[in-house]
Symmetry: C2
Subunit: 244 residues, 2 copies
């Protein structure tokens, strides 16, 4: 009587690591990575929790797998692309990916997981800088600085209000609950943010602010690069000509 339809279950295509991770990705996007449990994950696959362990060693492996999936979504231009353009593209892409999967940034920061996908990502970014005239030490430094800003900005951004509803909620808090006397400078800043919130989202949320900061850093790095190794008369050509 327990075996009502012994076939029905067996008929579905067998699970595999790939399908498990894809399901985890969907579930994380829907409910957040914090409420991603092995039992819940199994349920979305029509399976019992312990069945997952035939395809993944443990939950940590699922999380690391998620990181890999997300890193793979980041668009890194091919080796030889002019560095400023390349850094812009990959930074913007990383940001979009992290906003699409709102749990991703925190997960990447909280886990070590030097998987092939992540190593290759780092290698590609470093390669772009190296092929654009950066020395090894400077390429390393630039990488660290850009990534600090990139992921630091994203982490902040994830806490900001997005929907109009949240925004007006914040606005209420600003004008009512937070007393102006206690936090005068914070108040004026919040007021400014609220007042300009419309024009500050261009083709996405908070794009403009992110881009300005990034350009600031790229400018600074360009100066460093030029000081470090005097460029040929036409820097952009010498940069892109490395592989073309």
């Amino acid at each position: 009587m327990a075996k009502t339809r012994p076939r029905a279950r067996a008929r579905r295509q067998p699970l595999n690591r790939e399908r498990v991770l894809q399901a985890a990705l969907r579930l994380a996007d829907r409910e957040g990575v914090a409420s991603l449990s092995m039992r819940g994950l199994a349920q979305t696959l029509g399976v019992e929790a312990m069945s997952l362990y035939k395809h993944v060693a443990n939950k940590d492996e699922v999380l690391d797998g998620l990181i890999d999936l997300v890193v793979a979504e980041i668009d890194v231009p091919p080796l030889g692309t002019e560095w400023r353009h390349a850094m812009r593209v990959r930074a913007m892409s990383a940001r979009q990916v992290c906003l699409r999967h709102r749990w991703a940034a925190l997960l990447m920061e909280s886990r070590l997981s030097q998987s092939p996908a992540r190593l290759q990502y780092a290698d590609a970014v470093l390669g772009l800088l190296r092929c654009s005239g950066f020395t090894v030490p400077l390429a390393y430094r630039a990488f660290v600085i850009i990534d600090s800003y990139l992921y630091g900005y994203i982490m902040q951004e994830l806490h900001w209000p997005r929907e109009e509803a949240e925004m007006s909620q914040v606005e209420q808090d600003v004008t009512a609950q937070l007393s102006t006397a206690d936090y005068p400078y914070l108040m004026e800043a919040m007021t400014h943010v609220m007042a300009t919130r419309t024009e500050r989202r261009v083709a996405g949320v908070y794009d403009a602010d992110f881009a300005t900061g990034l350009e600031l850093i790229l400018d600074a790095l360009a100066r460093l690069r030029d000081a470090d190794a005097p460029p040929s008369p036409m820097p952009t050509i010498s940069a892109t000509s490395a592989t073309h």
Copy 2:
């Protein structure tokens, strides 16, 4: 017979929120925030888990309390201090605090918790910029950019090897397990990092790299500030004279 010594327990000074949070801080420093459980925390206080709930609403409140304790440790110069100096001081201080409590940065990024301590911290930083000639929009932008870099850098740094033992472990991985063919640029960068690791730690770990990046950003912001509101002939004086 259960009441062997009804007095002994009652004699110790009663718990309070303060002592609970201090114990949580110590425990987190010792074992990491991930393995901070209400039961474990209670144990270090010689008390049962549920007793904590007389002084704290729930675990989230403990975590938010930890954030407050940590934020309070950050050294923010008084209003009116010249902005570059002030930003340097508070960035360095925040970094030291986050390295001292290695769980703090992640906790701050993962929780929202707009507690008075945090709001006041933000207010103080914004105030410093405002008093040094930054307009409201620019002060806000500068705040976001500096903090992005600051906490982004720290989050990266927390994953880097610190002890000499870890370092030589990484060195082994670099020269052996990671194949040079697969990640050429990553390899050369790691080799450089390993080779220069001695001179790169000055009075602390990785101080030099952090400072260079910060100066880069402060330079860029200085340029922005001067372009935004043309300074008087002697910018530093006009900056500090605002409140003195």
